[in-house]
Subunit: 305 residues, 2 copies
Amino acid sequence: MSLLVVGSVGLDSVETPFDKIEDALGGSATYISLAASYFSAPVTLIGVVGSDFPKPYIEMLEDHNVDLEGMQIIEGEKTFRWGGKYHYDLNVRDTLFTELNAFENFNPVIPENFHKARYVCLGNIDPILQMKVLEQMTDPQFVVCDTMNLWINTMKDDLLKLLKKVTVLIINDSEARLLTNEPNLIKAAKMIRELGPEILIIKKGEHGALLFTNDTIFSAPAYPMEIIFDPTGAGDSFAGGFIGYLHKTRDLSPENIRRAVIYGSAMASFCVEKFSTKGLEDLSHLQIQDRFRDFKNLSSFDEPN
Amino acid sequence: MSLLVVGSVGLDSVETPFDKIEDALGGSATYISLAASYFSAPVTLIGVVGSDFPKPYIEMLEDHNVDLEGMQIIEGEKTFRWGGKYHYDLNVRDTLFTELNAFENFNPVIPENFHKARYVCLGNIDPILQMKVLEQMTDPQFVVCDTMNLWINTMKDDLLKLLKKVTVLIINDSEARLLTNEPNLIKAAKMIRELGPEILIIKKGEHGALLFTNDTIFSAPAYPMEIIFDPTGAGDSFAGGFIGYLHKTRDLSPENIRRAVIYGSAMASFCVEKFSTKGLEDLSHLQIQDRFRDFKNLSSFDEPN
């Protein structure tokens, strides 16, 4: 059964200290699907674009075995657009503009033949839409969910309802603190797991990620990078690598979930090496395995004799 | 040959959201020596106090095999005092007062019989004093050095001169950025290693530590703590555990230096569990080994089959 990915598909205009691009491929569902496609095929993308959505982007996604049967193309509408500018230290970004366009009235419809999908990744869209997706599913067994500060601030009740149905929540450290009003991440993680998600992943950017499962914590290192060309999509690529690997292996043991966190981290590191989705378009399995091994070398140590 | 530790010895008045204490034992040399004492004996502490320095503190240090032959007690002077207050998120601290007292004219004199020590830990004091120590040594082969933003801002030239003589520099992430004016830590680390230190350790508090050696990077996790009672001395305890373990094992292989970073992290985690030096006063070797294993469990993962 296919891996179902729901989220935004858009055109990004991004400026960093190194370069700038306009109307490049972006959106949470795009990054998640591409990253997952290296592990699991097919990946089914549920999203919406306008009739101006460039054909080469469709072809590139299809070349990666991303099934676009559930991507609505709204005639006469324009595609969702986002513009952002990253500052020198790359942790600070300004949103320059957001044009919802076709995304404004997005009503995710899951094609009949995917209602039975068991692995679902809910990219960062508002929690009511995320819930609508789950309500169409017969028996979603492994639901990975991303969210953001905007929904925590403006739609907290809907988010809390959704969290009860979520298996894995992936958020960043500031969002975890915001959601719980607790500065200590270990305490915040306990509180979030009590809201529903059995598994919680807190992304910490250049400091790696923390995985919280039943009574155990796993600390994944960050890949050391001298230059980050474009941080856009890093979190989505993480989610895609994570769920793609688990969907492929169908092994939800604690050890395998740790591996999935490393594959997620690896895909995020490839993503930020190039602008837009370029870093995820031409990877080999050997490159991904090498990067996995880099993470291992980065963090391994032995007990004394 | 003994491990030589130079730095401040003082009386700290600390307020945290949990409690407050007055005139408790503190100072960089104190924490370093105590942490190192669990690995290596004897540890020789070079420092200065006033005649008001409480006798129980001297006895406690001597009980831990810390040799105080080089600790000057200045008759009629008061001991160095520092007062600080930590805020709720514990990453923010205000210095309430600093009274240099006996420390003001500190002139570190290394007793004759320690001139040949090969392992030296220069706790955080001004770089001219740190250099004075090295000038008295016959052949210091492994010099670990800590510093702080104050010296980077006010005595940079002296610090740069010192760094040429240092084997391992241990600083925190904001200090690494300040020293190099480079926000990317991986680039900053390269720049710092070109200033002299063969080995660089960047401490990142709740995000662990990075070890930079020739062409390799090691990312050590942070011990997950729900409550940090008193962050004072964490960095010094790290340095003490690190050099204490290396002094004991006399093994400077890359694998053993990684282990030393974990022992340093372990001692820092014990330190912050109690106020002042209390967390370092009654540890067993079993507890330290268990904590080492906790770090291993926290960060280990296997390659896929």
